[in-house]
Symmetry: C2
Subunit: 414 residues, 2 copies
């Protein structure tokens, strides 16, 4: 019998230990876990095989099974991820902006861990290692709740993680796996406000909205990306073409891929036919507004729903807009506030777009595909926040912390 409350309580208790752990020891533990993953590869693969057999018996689709598979390459990729996380600067303990007040009090903001982070995620077992190591690096305890389809893989990975902690002299209770994967248990977990400080759902839209709707714990929403490229009237045509093709076709299933293309009416006659052709060369389906049909008469007409959709596929919605004002209005209405791009050589419009677009990352003349923790210089990320509280955009190790005020006095009363 899984008692979710006792799991969460164990994590909370362990969190005050790990909060005090030295940087050197955390680094040592992560390096050890990386080594153990390779040493215990056979054990991991055996357990992964059980999950794969179950998935095949249930006739799961190929893409589903692909997400579930662990092999030499994926285990090595988890290892190199761990080694990178081990090398990241430890954010904990830094005191920012200590001031001396007129009454002599010294007041500073000290960076500390969030405490206990709950991660609710779907099939990919690598999340177990990637997310745990980043949370752990920032001094947090973790309660993991992965999908039932990956439970055997997750158990094996968590065992290795906990063994690595124990061998370094750190309490293994820092990492907790909820082995009961029933829906009732996850609903219970989302009520444990006294033990979990933050919930981060990682997965598709329906998982995220289930967490937002049911959680009493503060949630950080991640990953939904209805990203736009706007080609302004003064765009460099070749640059526009390259950015659109890159943002749409290099990895259409990720959140920073482009989903909608807006083209200024002034430049559309000079560029739209060629861009559509290029996209079609990459097997991208075009869904256009009425004006797009002038350039591509066989185009499927985009519906209102299309403007809202994150396809995560070789499909793009295309609209001819009057000018930058219409583009900004459209984006702020339909976007999920992830990443938006303007391609332009017009100084005023570049600045206007940066000022008025309300998204986590706003680009001038670069692909939306750069919204990524590593590309932003954070080393690794736990996800891309699309909400406004706490953190926006890629969340690295710094975003997994909070602060407390520390105050040095000498008897002050008020």
């Amino acid at each position: 019998m899984t008692d979710i409350k006792s799991i969460c309580r164990k994590a909370k208790t362990a969190s005050s230990e790990i909060a005090k752990c030295s940087s050197a020891k955390k680094e040592e533990a992560i390096d050890r876990i990386a080594r153990k993953l390779l040493e215990e590869k056979e054990y991991i693969l055996e357990n992964n095989k059980i999950d794969l057999q179950n998935a095949r018996q249930q006739n799961k689709p190929a893409a589903f099974i692909d997400r579930l598979v662990l092999d030499d390459k994926r285990i090595e990729s988890m290892c190199s991820g761990l080694k990178m996380v081990a090398q990241l600067p430890d954010p904990i303990g830094k005191v920012d902006g200590m001031i001396k007040r007129p009454n002599g009090l010294y007041i500073g903001k000290k960076r500390i861990p969030l405490g206990v982070i709950g991660i609710i995620y779907e099939s990919r077992p690598n999340v177990t290692i990637d997310a745990s190591s980043l949370c752990f690096k920032a001094g947090n305890a973790v309660v993991l709740r992965g999908g039932s389809e990956a439970i055997n893989s997750n158990k094996a990975l968590v065992k290795i993680f906990r063994d690595g902690l124990q061998e370094t002299g750190i309490s293994p209770e820092v990492i907790q796996l909820v082995e009961n994967t029933s829906r009732a248990v996850v609903l219970e977990m989302m009520k444990e406000r006294d033990f979990i400080d933050v919930l981060i759902p990682r997965g598709g839209k329906s998982l995220i909205s289930a967490v937002v709707n049911n959680s009493l714990i503060p949630v950080i929403e991640t990953g939904e990306g209805n990203c736009h490229i706007f080609i302004d009237k003064d765009a460099d045509k070749k640059m526009a073409e390259e950015i659109v093709v890159n943002a749409k076709t290099t990895r259409p299933a990720v959140c920073n891929a482009a989903e909608s293309l807006l083209v200024s009416a002034d430049i559309a006659p000079k560029i739209l036919v060629r861009i559509i052709k290029k996209l079609q060369d990459h097997n991208v389906e075009i869904r256009g507004c009425e004006k797009v049909k002038k350039y591509y008469p066989n185009c499927r007409l985009a519906t209102e729903d299309d403007w809202y959709t994150e396809y995560l596929d070789y499909i793009i919605a295309v609209k001819v807009v009057q000018d930058i004002d219409e583009a900004i209005k459209h984006i702020n209405k339909y976007s999920t506030h992830h990443s938006e791009v303007i391609v332009t050589n017009n100084y005023q419009n570049a600045q206007k777009f940066l000022e008025e677009i309300d998204s986590a990352a706003v680009f001038v003349n670069a692909s939306s595909r750069f919204t990524d923790g590593a590309e932003f210089g954070m080393g690794a990320e736990i996800g891309i926040s699309t909400q406004k509280l706490h953190a926006r955009g890629p969340m690295g190790v710094n975003e997994l912390t909070t602060y407390k005020y520390i105050i040095y006095g000498n008897g002050q009363i008020r």
Copy 2:
């Protein structure tokens, strides 16, 4: 008929205007509102009188009516609050830590408003002006939902605020008051995720927990303060006495007042009788553990509930603890994570307390009463956050903002 969705939508639309507003114009508007409050004093008092009459007819208690009263002094205090907010530095637009990546991308974090802030509050009508002005200064639109008992006062104050905006050439839609004070409407408001970015409840424990339990919008919890004073073995006795009396008795009804006193067993024989006497001189009721009864035999015995209670009254729970470890364990268990104090001259214990206590503000040798926006040098505050996400402790104008990444490229693709 109040249509809450249309109110929230108006605020959202207005928020993109106010986000672009210059600092000078915001300052001008706030100064104008301050002047208008004085000019329209009679109008405010007339409307306040209706609320007071209603409250008296409903036989509301004196303390309730006191919170509701507006008079010359309280109106002047709102004015001086406004003038102070007008003078605060504008946080909006600052770009932090712009880096140049190896691929030539320039990436920076730009400070921007949160968007639309919902405030749900109880009787005090001054919150209408204080909270709105601080949110407005940080470039946010506001949806206010005050209590039914203050509806006439709130309507008058909001009218003046909106008139002041209009006269400065700013859309009055930036400030919205929900005039329908039914419970159904506030429940609806808490679901409007598309239009409200953050909800801040201001009021008692039951209001805050109702918001946390029902809101789909991210919430910032404020104001619950079960604050502790711990007198360590090496404390200066006179300092300890002054801090305890100050923290408990100067304003027992506020959240930074002390509610529990922990005394190290080593120093209790030298100090406890005298401190209890001093507290009783200020009419404070003592509820002690068994060991306290040794020093004060008539003491009422503290129950488990007492350790959890924020009295907001002339009552204090007192416990003799073995040492600093027991004190830290007790505090981290029972506290609401607001403010805690150690009184000590022992260097090691001071540092240990600062390190291990998990609260928004941790003091050495100073009264917990200093946890306050003005005392922390923020000018004004909208409340004291007791949660870990986004902001902890006093929340000033900076804490009412978020950021977006702005990226300058020259054609980069990935």
